[in-house]
Subunit: 342 residues, 3 copies
């Protein structure tokens, strides 16, 4: 049973007009909350719902607190406060250790007593699974791979051989870490010769890796995901990429080989980054843009084009092909006008 006082403590929020002993059963949106549930106001979009909310209490900013018709949990950063409060209501995943009878763990693997290995898992020779690790069903942990304490592999995760995973890392289903990089040498006969991928993958602490995201191992040195990086679903990270600490990459981003992403960067959905380039710290790239050269300055960058009605777009793209010609035509007109003949 969670009380409002406990919620306030977790959220590090100030109680306003609250009875700290009120029992809270869960969280809900402003317009859906019932008595016993807390709610939150973290975006102006939802301010209209504040006046009529039925929530037991609302997490909001000092500015909004004045207009709160119900008890308030006041926080300077309501979004963070909400995140911490909501964590109290996450269904707890199994915490006690053990190995499920259907799992297969190689005798030479080391699994901490407090770690859980779920059904149908495979843990290969020499793997090391730390204290409090939770490995969900049907995961594979490859040879010599190390999984840091309190890390969770949700289900169907594949960690290939000789991969290092930090502490408190969360890996979602279908993610693959440590697959071979795309290393090819072109033979004289036009056939590709595979370049062995002898490096590994190093994932820092507090990283989150989305469903069906892939991170290739390095050709010789490691691919590196620094601490606190957050990767959404369906992302492709090629060999020898380095993603700087606390950067967040949205779904379907693709990073080509040996690119270096700075710290505290944000890449929008579907962004592509070419190989062997460097992106500075605190760079934001909007969705579906292509980073084809290094970026030295922090700030926002874009190259995505938004849809237009099909007929208009076809006209635009046809004209675009003749853009070079248009520049020349305008230059010609300018020449005439300068010559005074016009």
């Amino acid at each position: 049973m969670t009380t409002l006082g406990e919620v306030a403590a977790a959220a590090n929020a100030r109680l306003q007009g609250c009875d700290a002993t009120t029992v809270i059963t869960g969280v809900a949106p402003l317009n859906g909350a019932e008595s016993g549930q807390i709610s939150f106001l973290t975006h102006p979009r939802y301010r209209p719902f504040l006046a009529h909310t039925q929530a037991a209490a609302v997490i909001l900013s000092p500015e909004d607190a004045a207009y709160c018709p119900v008890p308030a949990l006041v926080a300077t950063n309501p979004h963070v406060a909400y995140a911490r409060a909501a964590a109290l209501f996450v269904p707890t995943t199994r915490s006690h250790g053990g190995i499920h009878p259907t799992a297969w763990v190689d005798p030479s693997a080391q699994v901490a007593a407090s770690a859980w290995i779920g059904p149908q898992c495979t843990v290969e020779a020499g793997a090391v699974v730390g204290e409090g690790v939770c490995v969900g069903p049907n995961c594979v942990i490859g040879e010599q791979t190390v999984v840091g304490a309190e890390t969770r592999l949700v289900a169907q995760v594949t960690l290939c051989h000789r991969v290092h995973i930090g502490r408190r890392v969360l890996v979602h289903p279908g993610a693959v870490i440590g697959s071979d990089g795309f290393g090819l040498a072109l033979g004289p006969d036009g056939r590709w010769v595979k370049v062995p991928q002898l490096g590994g993958v190093w994932v820092g602490d507090d990283v989150e890796i989305g469903a069906n995201t892939t991170i290739d191992r390095g050709a010789l040195e490691d691919t590196v995901i620094e601490e606190g990086v957050k990767l959404d679903n369906q992302i492709q990270i090629a060999h020898n990429v380095r993603v700087g600490a606390h950067s967040a990459l949205a779904g379907c981003v693709g990073i080509a080989g040996s690119a270096r992403i700075g710290r505290h960067c944000m890449l929008g959905g579907g962004v592509g980054v070419a190989g062997h380039l460097e992106i500075a710290d605190r760079v934001q790239v909007t969705g579906m843009s292509l980073v084809a050269r290094s970026i030295a300055e922090p700030g926002a960058y874009s190259s995505g084009l938004a849809v237009e009605p099909n007929r208009l777009w076809n006209k635009i793209s046809a004209r675009l092909r003749r853009l070079d010609e248009l520049f020349r035509r305008v230059a010609a007109l300018e020449k005439i006008s300068k010559n005074g003949s016009i």
Copy 2:
């Protein structure tokens, strides 16, 4: 043994010049069909092959029927008729119920007697698997998840906890349904705080979900895929998205959080949709386009650019960067010309 009469009945087609008792062994393209196989003409592209086909019978439109040298199965919509006829020749997947000895089913899970749980599967606590469900090898069904009658998970599918799957849903290998949404709050120290994803996923009846497609659970309320939606492979659906009934999304589409797609929409391959926007019913978006604003009117929309020879494209894209300047130069010329000085 299937007869032409049975094929006609399944296809709801009119027999023309056919012996209904002819035995049909399978389907094949017009130019490849042998006696005993039926074929079809659903696209003008293949009309030239009609004259010389060896098929036992051809499914086609009343217009084309006149030119059919062999028995015909005449249908107003030959494509649909073909789809129904071909279904007779799909190799039947196992229909009788049971649980494979290598599968692990939690004692508290409810599996209907007529459902099949395949090898190496995991069915977690409180899961409910309906009548006639077929769960292929190495699938995971999470806690409290409900799978509707006659649904099929082909193989290696992951349904996370508290997901609702409707009836007659088909999910292809590697698909992940119910992974955490990408919810992050930015702390004052520049570190990300995870926003717990407390919602679920609701998938309606007759939905098809492609290989390695991912559908995230909602932050508080459910992510919703309405009835009859068809999702191709490698699609990413973020948290709290709603995809309207009978919409079809091609491969590699990415939908950002809280976007609402209308009913009967069609999104081409690689299309990206930004978050918190709405797309009306019956909107088509062509491949690799970016929907960055809401679309209120039905119709076709585009922003994809087609390839040109590399040298020409480099010239165009360099000019594009100076497009704003060009507009100003043209305005200047127009000013001069208006002033009559030219």
Copy 3:
């Protein structure tokens, strides 16, 4: 224990100033190599590191050999030579045959005595697994599917029913081969009718398939990946596509139905190819480009746009929408100037 002589033989390189009996323990970059390790110089980018390398020997070109301060392994194609040499240092994956006790193999499947079936695998009825095949943990091999000799499925691979995999094929984790193509017929009521996918997938010899890549089965005839093709991660290949021999596709490429890619083609990351078109041999397409029409001539093609600072880009894309108007305005000015009135 590997000697320099053995490395030279594997690399087909000429020893210069070397003692062939020197023992080599591994490979490393020029600036990181220690005595006992070989290194390589395959890109001018790294030439500055040559002078001070501590490597036991360096694989390089005849031109660079003159400047090599340490023993050299001289090869006309150092990249290929390096690839062959490095292969000596790949940790060997299990080579002896057998079936892991936790694997499930249908009694009607044929598994060669020298093949290995790893933990938690499923091999379904009628599957045929050739000599020396290595099937890693948690893989699924579907009914009637044939896996050629010496092929390796790393882990969590899904081969659906009736798929043909050639010899020496390497398939990385999470790849799905033989899932249903996206075949839909639109019914009169606006509901989609599934078009049964009755074809298969044919994968030639020496193909490599990346992590979480998907290859759909054909509608009637097979989807075909010809010999020597290299597919990176997260690629989507739709039904009835044909990829020509020795073509290389980078991550996140998407190929729509029935497209034909030529031989020795190279597609950059995130490239999209529309359906029912043909790309000639030896075509290169740069990253994030859209191939919307057939390409008949070899060469390089592009349509990707590189990022600009956000404010500049917003201006450019706004102007782009008025490009058609600009062409008309310029034409008007030209008319005036021709009329001599200017």
